[in-house]
């Protein structure tokens, strides 16, 4: 487990599932899972993903393909604005309309600093673990599935 958080990280959960964790760490993860429904859900998702089950996320190949598609799409006029609009829509429930506009203002036209800009602001208020989840959601909904 990472020293920063009491929740096991993704790598530990994967290794837990594969039974490759050292005994003491395995026991710690097991104890944590018994009490934490959030991590149990995460473990189930990993199990589904490893089995190739029907999980509501894209595969890494799809994700990378979407990113390269996005990169070429961003060269087209107005594409960056459309992306910003989608990202803004995802940000509004957390930060509000005015703040979403303000956060997205310094994003470059080609969108290269989009995630780092969002991440640095959200992390100030919500911390690293929650911010990673929100950015994950934004990547999933506004980029991969768009």
């Amino acid at each position: 487990m990472t020293p920063q958080s009491e929740h096991p990280d993704i790598e530990d959960l994967l290794r837990f599932r594969e039974n490759t964790l050292p005994e003491d760490e395995r026991r710690a993860v097991e104890t944590h899972l018994a009490a934490c429904s959030q991590c149990r859900n995460e473990t189930e998702r990993i199990a589904f993903a490893v089995k190739g089950g029907n999980v509501p996320v894209a595969s890494s190949e799809d994700f990378l393909a979407s990113l390269s598609r996005l990169q070429s799409n961003l060269q087209q006029p107005g594409a960056s604005d459309a992306l910003k609009q989608r990202v803004k829509y995802e940000l509004i429930p957390y930060v509000g309309t005015e703040a979403a506009d303000s956060i997205l203002q310094p994003v470059a036209p080609n969108g290269e600093n989009l995630l780092s800009t969002i991440e640095s602001t959200l992390r100030l208020f919500l911390g690293k673990p929650a911010t990673a989840r929100i950015v994950s959601r934004i990547v999933d909904r506004a980029i991969v599935r768009a």
Binding site: D9, I46, A58, Y94, F125, G127, D140
Partner: protein, 307 residues
């Protein structure tokens, strides 16, 4: 009690409903006092049920603020901020137990059975007022400093309006008046004891907190309708009500508001405590919402920011 995401959304509305119910009963007690001309109705309400609610709200605030800390990494800006806020809540809990339960002659105070009750009860009250006053507000002001720093760094810090400055100037005048009164009392021959002196920073700290609260309110208001701002708006409301309650105590002690109307100021402490408890509840709600969103591990696998 656990840190279940599904339950975190229940806390803020539950706190509001319970406090509203208590306030309704309190208003009924006030009405009964007016009708029967017997102040025991209101006094008993504050001595037992309201005291229990205040302790429960302080406990809730402390527990929820402690849970919030766990959601921040050691290198996150607000981790020390929330640690200070939770410390402030801990002081409030100690203060409430000592001043509302152990420092009062009531049916729920076990100390009344002690042979040393005569000396123990006033001591508990003084200790409670110190923990829930000077210490609570000092920790809270430091915690709020980190919140303002977060708004500053994000570029989302709002500007104070002229009305905010008026409120600060008015509270500053109230503070100055208290300082003048203390100086006059000392010159008149009064020797303050150590408990009184330890309580002197309360008003200056409240003034600082009021300034911070107004800045936070404007910053959170400028963000729009986002859920992140709810926590800081709740803190702002709580601090404003606390400052108002402090002025109310002064008005009551100096007899500026005629009895029984001065007792109305007692009711301010209930919504103030509720707002303090709701603030970490809002923060937990938004953090848990973030953790429960679909596709959470995709970004972690491909996250370029995770070392």
């Amino acid at each position: 009690m656990n840190d279940d995401p599904e339950r975190s959304a229940l806390w803020a509305p539950l706190i509001a409903r319970v406090t509203a119910a208590y306030l309704a009963v309190g208003v009924l007690a006030l009405g009964a006092w007016q009708v029967t001309r017997n102040p025991a109705w209101a006094i008993e309400f504050f001595r037992v049920p309201a005291a229990v609610l205040m302790v429960c709200l302080a406990l809730t605030e402390f527990w929820l603020a402690s849970l919030v800390i766990r959601h921040f990494s050691p290198d996150d800006l607000l981790r020390p901020g929330w640690t200070l806020i939770a410390s402030s809540s801990g002081c409030q809990l100690i203060g409430m137990v000592c001043s509302q339960i152990l420092g009062v002659q009531s049916r729920i105070n076990p100390l009344v059975l002690s042979s040393h009750a005569g000396s123990l009860i006033p001591l508990m009250r003084k200790a409670g007022l110190l923990a829930g006053g000077t210490f609570r507000y000092a920790f809270l002001a430091c915690g709020m400093h980190f919140a303002l720093k977060a708004y500053q760094r994000s570029g989302l810090r709002g500007r104070m309006r002229w009305m905010d400055w008026v409120v600060c100037v008015l509270f500053g005048a109230f503070l100055l008046r208290n300082v003048v009164d203390v100086i006059a009392a000392i010159r008149g021959g009064k020797t303050p004891d150590v408990w009184e002196m330890l309580g002197w920073p309360v008003d200056p700290l409240l003034w600082l907190l009021l300034l911070q609260a107004l800045m936070l309110l404007r910053s959170a208001g400028q963000m729009g309708n986002g859920r992140i701002g709810l926590c800081w708006k709740a803190f702002s409301a709580a601090i404003f009500l606390t400052a108002l309650g402090d002025v109310g105590l002064w008005v009551f002690n100096y007899g500026y508001l005629p009895w029984p109307w001065s007792s109305v100021t007692w009711y301010l402490w209930l919504p103030a405590s509720a707002a303090f408890a709701r603030a970490p509840a809002f923060q937990l709600e938004v953090v848990h919402d973030a953790h429960s969103v679909a596709g959470p591990f995709l970004y972690e696998v491909l996250n370029p920011y995770t070392p």
